[in-house]
Amino acid sequence: MNGRMYKYLAAVAVVTACVLLYVGKRVAWFEDMMFPTWLSILVCVLIAASMFWILLRTIKGKPAERRTVFLYVGIAVSLPLLMTISVHVPISTEGQLLFDGMKRIQPGSKVLVSFDYDPPSAPELQPMAEAFMRYCFERDIKVIIIGLWPQGPQQANLALAKLLAEPAISAKNLVYGVDYVNLGFQSGNEFVIQRMGSDFKSMFPADYRGTPYDSLPLVGNVRNFSGIDYSFNLSAGYPGTREWVLIGVDRFGLVMGAGNTAVQTTGMYPYVRSGQLKGILGGMSGAAEIEELTERLGKGAKFMVAQSFGHMVMIVFIVIGNVAYFLHERKKKKA
């Protein structure tokens, strides 16, 4: 088969997989399809064996190409979602600090949740958002949602739709405008935070649906940050946690915790150490941590298994790559 045939075959395989996934999700059998434990172990052993075979081929002078790496990474992050494997997620100091802050929020308090991310960061941040808001709804804590990114409020709506369909929360008959509200997106980046410090209404004259600010019971008497008891920021970049800390926390005394993508979490640790941030969740492991702390395991915990396998595969390929490099160097020296 020539190169073009391979490309067509690959395209057909991808389209077939997508159709199967879509159909499976619609008819719900995919949600329930999980490998039994013995099959999970067998799959892991087969993958390990094939990687050992790749190592042997590398030693024999046939190094793996990047498409092989892509294939194994694809398998490593997708198959664990079907396996009955769970991993215990250790709780970080920063995650525990965040949860301790959450436990101090009293029923009836008003919490501001800022959705500062878009769909690409949703796998990391959406489980955090769901876990946090579930915790609030279960304890009668009121939630005020805003977004400094255009797609943020829509991500919030997706999380709300999922949470409100859960039996425990739907039984509470939460009322929009009384128990939670989505004020929508406002452009202006950090200047929005600055102006919210004096007047929320000037930045959000109406909510996401166009309802005037004053006619929303939950926020009608919230003039500025002094009416907010706690704030949780979900951030994937700029504007995000740094801007909230520099303006909301430093200037207006906001009590704030945050959830960030893994890449930018390390840059926020100084704010946690200085006490400006009351804890932070980082990436997928942060999502798994908050699910473990709130005792409701969900996508975060499931994705951590896939991430673990993905990291293992990458490390094995790094080792294989170094073996290939050293063998090549030895050959060069002999030559």
Binding site: P120, S198, G237, R251, V263
Partner: protein, 441 residues
């Protein structure tokens, strides 16, 4: 029987009168700071209670209450300070309640509660001040029009699960009237001003030295030395040069730095007769880049070689932009790719695709989280400030080189401050580090 009932009623009434007398005769201690015209003695105030207040429940009132304008701001804020109640350490103070009254003819109007703060707090900022409206009103007047009176009460209560069974508070003396005002200089930022002036002084000094003809040494930056080779490679292979000036808008300094380097690269491309393409993510960047490339071609004596379509807009969306460029790179297989500017998550996608097609890649960004990806996937990477130095490096213009030297001296001063600070902190001297604290944004 009737007489016994009357006696009982009389006894109970007498007891109630005695209790009332005991409660209403309890007084609080005063602190003199802004005395009002008639000396008002604060009394222990008892809320209407379901349960009786224990006799010694009322805490001592807060001491030394002062109210004044919050410094270094734009007005609209007053700060109330007090010393802790003498009973705070004995646990008799649950929180402090702040009261405010408007100024009515020099005397306080009706007091209303403003806020409550937990025990241990000794300061409150009142930002709910009526401020002046109107542009010229605010420009010409520093002081706000409204004046207020304040008092602070120490509150003790018995609350279980949100239900308050009894409450007792003792109020301080009234202070006022006070007005907020705006300041013309923020003294909290004086350290920033000194640092900025020092750095600018170094830069200007070395610019002047460079203008006077003094040679300025600048170390080799591998990525910039390779620009010539990269452009030449594209000419030899007959393939394109792609220049990606970041994925953000003109309000970012890194984008400006990237566009500055584009001018130099475009001039080189015009001289070598290499085909240059500049796909951009923002409309304002497109307009600017077009102008820059056109001028660069004119400077190289090749104005006719410039085509407006070389610089074209793709999309504002981060991943749409990355997808489009990936597609163009895979189809057209450029010989050289420059990525200079501010990038976020799309950095690795662009760099890896370029690596896949075998292009020589020179990248530069001041976004620390993306630098590792560029280092791993590109042939040369300009790290952080090297991106801002690139324009000076490529042009070799004395004034620009002088500014680099001044910047480096500034960095030397920062290094010295860090070393001194570490030593002093280790020895337990903390004042030095406080000099560098920046308050506010």
């Amino acid at each position: 029987m009737k007489q016994r009932c009357r006696n009982r009623i009389r006894t109970v009434s007498l007891l109630l009168i005695i209790c009332q007398a005991v409660v209403s005769s309890a007084t609080s201690v005063f602190a003199q700071s802004f005395p009002v015209t008639d000396s008002t003695i604060a009394s222990a105030h008892v809320e209407a209670q379901v349960y009786p207040v224990p006799p010694d429940a009322a805490p001592a009132p807060p001491l030394s209450v002062t109210a004044g304008d919050t410094p270094d701001d734009a007005g609209g804020s007053l700060t109330i300070r007090w010393d802790a109640s003498a009973d705070e350490t004995r646990g008799k103070v649950k929180y402090y309640r702040i009261f405010r009254a408007p100024n009515v003819g020099g005397r306080p109007g009706e007091f209303e509660p403003l806020g409550e703060l937990p025990a241990g707090t000794t300061q409150y900022s009142d930002g709910k001040i009526a401020t002046r409206k109107g542009f010229w009103e605010q420009v010409l007047h520093s002081t706000d029009s409204a004046a207020y009176f304040y008092k602070v009460a120490a509150v003790n209560d018995s609350a279980v699960n949100g239900t308050v069974y009894w409450q007792a508070q003792s109020e301080s003396e009234v202070v006022g009237p006070v007005r907020s005002s705006a300041q013309w200089f923020n003294f909290q930022r004086i350290n920033v001003l000194v640092g900025l002036l020092l750095l600018c002084a170094f830069i200007v000094y070395y610019i002047e030295r460079a203008k006077a003809g003094k040679p300025i040494f600048i170390r080799k930056i591998a990525g910039l030395e390779a620009v010539d080779e990269a452009v030449g490679r594209a000419t030899e292979m007959g393939r394109k040069i792609f220049y990606i000036p970041g994925s953000q808008d003109m309000d970012q300094v890194q984008t400006l730095a990237g566009i500055t380097i584009l001018g130099r690269v475009a001039e080189m491309a015009a001289v070598y007769d290499a085909r240059l393409e500049v796909p951009v993510s923002r409309s304002l960047v497109m307009v600017t880049c077009r102008e820059v490339v056109k001028e660069a071609y004119a400077r190289a004596g090749r104005p006719d070689s410039f085509n407006e379509k070389q610089v074209h807009y793709i999309t504002d969306d981060q991943f749409g932009y990355a997808a489009a460029i990936d597609g163009m790179v895979v189809r057209e297989r450029p010989a050289t790719i420059f990525m200079m500017g501010l990038f976020y998550a799309e950095a690795l996608i662009l760099a890896e695709t370029g690596n896949f097609v075998g292009a020589i890649q020179i990248a530069g960004t001041a976004e620390p989280s993306q630098l590792p990806f560029f280092v791993a996937a590109c042939d040369y990477t300009l790290i952080g400030e090297e991106l801002f130095a690139a324009s000076a490096y490529l042009s070799r213009e004395p004034r620009q080189l002088g500014s680099l030297k001044g910047q480096d001296i500034g960095k030397g001063v920062v290094l010295a401050a860090i070393i001194i600070g570490i030593l002093l902190e280790t020895l337990g001297v903390y004042h030095f580090a406080q000099l560098f604290k920046v308050i506010g944004y």
